[in-house]
Amino acid sequence: MTTLTRTARLLRLALRRDRILLPTWIVAISGIAWATVESYTAMMSDAAQRLATATYAAGNPIARLMDGPAAGTDLGAMSMVESYQVLAILTALMSGQAVVRHTRQDEETGRAELIGSAVVGRHARLSAALLITLGANVVLGLAVAAALVASDLGTTGALAAGLSVAGLGWVFAGVAAVASQVFGTARAANAAVGAALGVAFLLRAVGDLLGHVADSGVQVISAWPSWLSPIGWGQQLRPFQEDNWWIAGLFGGLTLVLASVAYVLADHRDVGAGMVTPRPGPAHAAPGLGTDLGLAWRLQRGTLLTWLGGLVALTAVFASVADSAEDLVAENDQLAEILGRLAPQGTVVDLYFTLTMAIIGIAAAGYTVQVLLRMRAEETTGRLEPVLATAVDRYAWMTRHVTIAFGGTAVILALSGLAGGVVYGAMTGRWAVGVGGLVAAALANAAAALALGGFVVATFGLIPRWAGALAWSALAGSLVVGQLGALLELPQAVLNLSPFTHVPAIPADAFELTPVLVLLGVAGGLTAVGMLAFRHRDAGVVA
C-alpha cells in the first residue's frame, strides 16, 4: 500500500499539533456527561419521582422534540437522554473540525504540498486525519464511560453510552472527510459538516415527536425519521435501558462508507483543488466593491446566506410540527396542566415557540461569532494589511464587518421567526399567534446574540490571539448553560454569564424591556471597547 506510506509519521505530527486541543474537547465533553449524571442523581433520588419525570418526558411532545426519546426510569438512561443532544453536537463539531484541520486546511495553506513532495503516500494525510479523529473518539467514548462509572452507574451501560458518543463522532469524521474532498476551502467544508449536523438533528427531532409512547408509559418508540439520523442512532442505542450494541454496526458501517467515498474522491482530484473547478470571473470589479460595505459584504454574504437558509428551514420545520405537538398535549390533561404553568402568559404553543426560538437564537449566535472572527482571519492571513495600507480607516473597516454581523443576526432571526410564523399560520389559520409570537421571540434572542457578538469584538480588539478560542468557548458555554444549566443546578451567577439566560421567555411569559435593553447596552459597550482597542493596537500578521 504505497499510497499510505508514512501515515504513522503524519499521525504523530497530527498528535503533536492537537496535543492540547483534542484533550480539551475530550475533558469538556466527558465532564458534561459526568456533571449531568451527578446532578440528576442528586435530584432524582427516589423511584416515584423518576417515574413521574419519565412519564412526563415520554408524553410531552416538546420534550421529545428538544431532548429525544424517553428511555425508561433508570437513572443512567434518563440522564443520557437529557445530555445526549449536547454531547452529540459537541462531539460532531470536535470530529468534523479535526478532520478538516488535517486535510483541507493543510491544502489551503500549502502545507499539504510541502508534505506531499516528501516520501509520503497519496492517501497518508487523509488516513492520518481519520486515524487521529477516530482514535480521539475512542478515547472520548472511554472517558465518557469512565465518567459515568465514577458516578456509580453500571459499567455495561456506561460503555454503551460511551459508544453512543464515539460512534456519532466517527460518522461525523466521515462526513468531514467527504466534505474536505468536495469543497475547496476549510470554511466551506466546516459549513457542510454543520449543515449535516443540522439535518441529523432535524430528522431525529421530527421522528421523536411523531413517535408514540410505549405501553410502559415511560418510553418513546420513535418514528422512522429518527432512524435516518446518526444522532437518532445514538439515542436508539438506549444506554442503561436496552444497550443495543448492534447499533455500533450502523455507526461503523456508515463511517466506512463515508471514508471510502472520501478515498475515491481523493483519487479523482488534484491536491489543493476541490471537486468544483473555479470558473473565470470578471476582469474588473463591479462598482462599489471598494466602497462602504462592498468588500465585507462580498466576503461575508455566502456565510450569511448559508446560515439564513439553514435557520429559516429549521424554524419552518419546527413550526410545522407545532400543531401536532399541541394536539398531543391536549390529549393529556395532566401534561397540559404542567405545561400551562410553564407558560403563565400564554398557551402550550407559546411555550413551544419560546423553546424553539431559544435554540434558533443560540444557533444564530454561531453566525454572529463566525462573521466577527472573519476579521481575525483577515488579519492573520495577511489580507488586512494591504487594505489598511489604503485610505481605509480602522474604525470604518471594523464597522463594516460588525454591521454585517449584527445586522445579519437580526435579519436571520427575524426571517426565521417570520418563516416559522407563516408555516404555522398557513397550517392553523392562527397567523397572529405564529408570526407575532415567533418574530417577537426571535428578536428578543437577537439581543442576546448581539451581546455575545460584543464580547467577540472586545476580545478581537483587546486580546486578538485569544479571540477565536474565547469566542467559540463563549458560544459553547452558552449552549451548555441554556440546555443543561437548570439541570446541572449551576449557580445563578454562572447562568447569568450566558446572555441567553436574560432573554425574556416570550411569548410564553410576559415581555420585559429592561433585560433586552441591558443586553443591547452590553453589546454596544463591548463593541465600542473592541473598536477603540483595535484602533490602538498593532494590526497585521504580527499582532
Binding site: 473565470p280 470571473g281 476582469a283 474588473h284 466593491l289 466602497t291 489580507r383 495600507a389 497585521g540
Partner: protein
Amino acid sequence: MDDVIRTRGLVKTFGRTRALDGVDLTVARGEVHGFLGPNGAGKSTTIRVLLGLLRKDAGEATLLGGDPWHDAVALHRRLAYVPGDVHLWPTLTGGEAIDLLGELRGRSDRRRRDELVERFQLDPTKKCGTYSKGNRQKVAMVAGLAADVELFLLDEPTSGLDPLMETIFQDVVRHMRDAGATVLLSSHILAEAEALCDRISIIREGRVVESGTLAELRHLTRTSVQVTAQHPITDLAALPGVTVVSTQDARSAQLEVDTDRLGAVIERLGPRGVLSLTCSPPTLEELFLRHYGQELTAAHEHDALVAAHSRAGSEEP
C-alpha cells in the same frame, strides 16, 4: 529640506525581541531609495510602522510630513504599498482585487491599470485562490503601481517574479521616478537595487548601518584590480591598503585595493610594463557582504569578506 520619509531612533519591540533598534532612515523627494538587508533585519517592520500598521515604541517617524500612526488614512491616499508576501481573497478574481485596492485608496487610474495588467501579462479573470505566487505578486504589483500617488512603499515587490517581469518592473519604476514619484524599495536582490536606486540604506539587526549613494558607499570600500605585467609585481602586497587575493605567478595578481589608494598602486605599476589591467568598482553585493561579513569575524573584516566571497562562490552549482 524635503524629506518624504524621515525616522530617527525608531524602536519597535515584540516581547523580548527588539525588531527595530533605533532606525534612522531618510528618503528625499523624487529618489528611488534602496532599503537593503537580509531576512529578519527589520525592513518589513520599518515599512509597517511607516504604514501605521504597527505602533512605534520609541523614536520619531515622519511620512510625507505627517505622523504615520495618527494621520494614517490621510497619508495612505498619497501612497501605494506593495507587500512581498501577498495574500488575496480566494473567491475574488485578480481584476476585482486590483480594482478593490485601488478604489479603497481613492485614486485609481483605469487606463494605467489596464496597461499594467497587459504588461505584466496577468489574467485578471482568474480567481485569486488559483494564482501562483508570482501571479499573486503581480496582482499586488499592478494594484500598487497603477496608483496615482507621490510615494510608493515596495516591500520586496519582485519576490516570485520571473526575470522578464523583473525587467518590466524596473522599467515601470524608472518611469515613476521620471514622473517625480518617490520610491522606497526594500529588497535583498542587490542587482535590482543597483540597477534602480539613487541612494541606498543598509539595515542590519534593526539599525541602519550605512546610507548614501552607491558612489559614496563605494568610496568606503575596495576596488578589485586584475593585473598582468612584464616584470614581477610581488612587492605590491607591501603597499598600505592593498590585499592580494590571489596570484597566478610573480607577474600577475588579483588585488583588492582601498579606493583612495588606487592612485598609488597605479603609479607603482607604471614602470613594470603593464600588459593588462582591469579595475572593477565594488559591486553592491560586495558592499553588502562587507557588512554582513562582519558577523562572521568581527576582528578581520577583510578575511570575512574573502570568506564570504568564497562561500558565495561555492554555493554556485
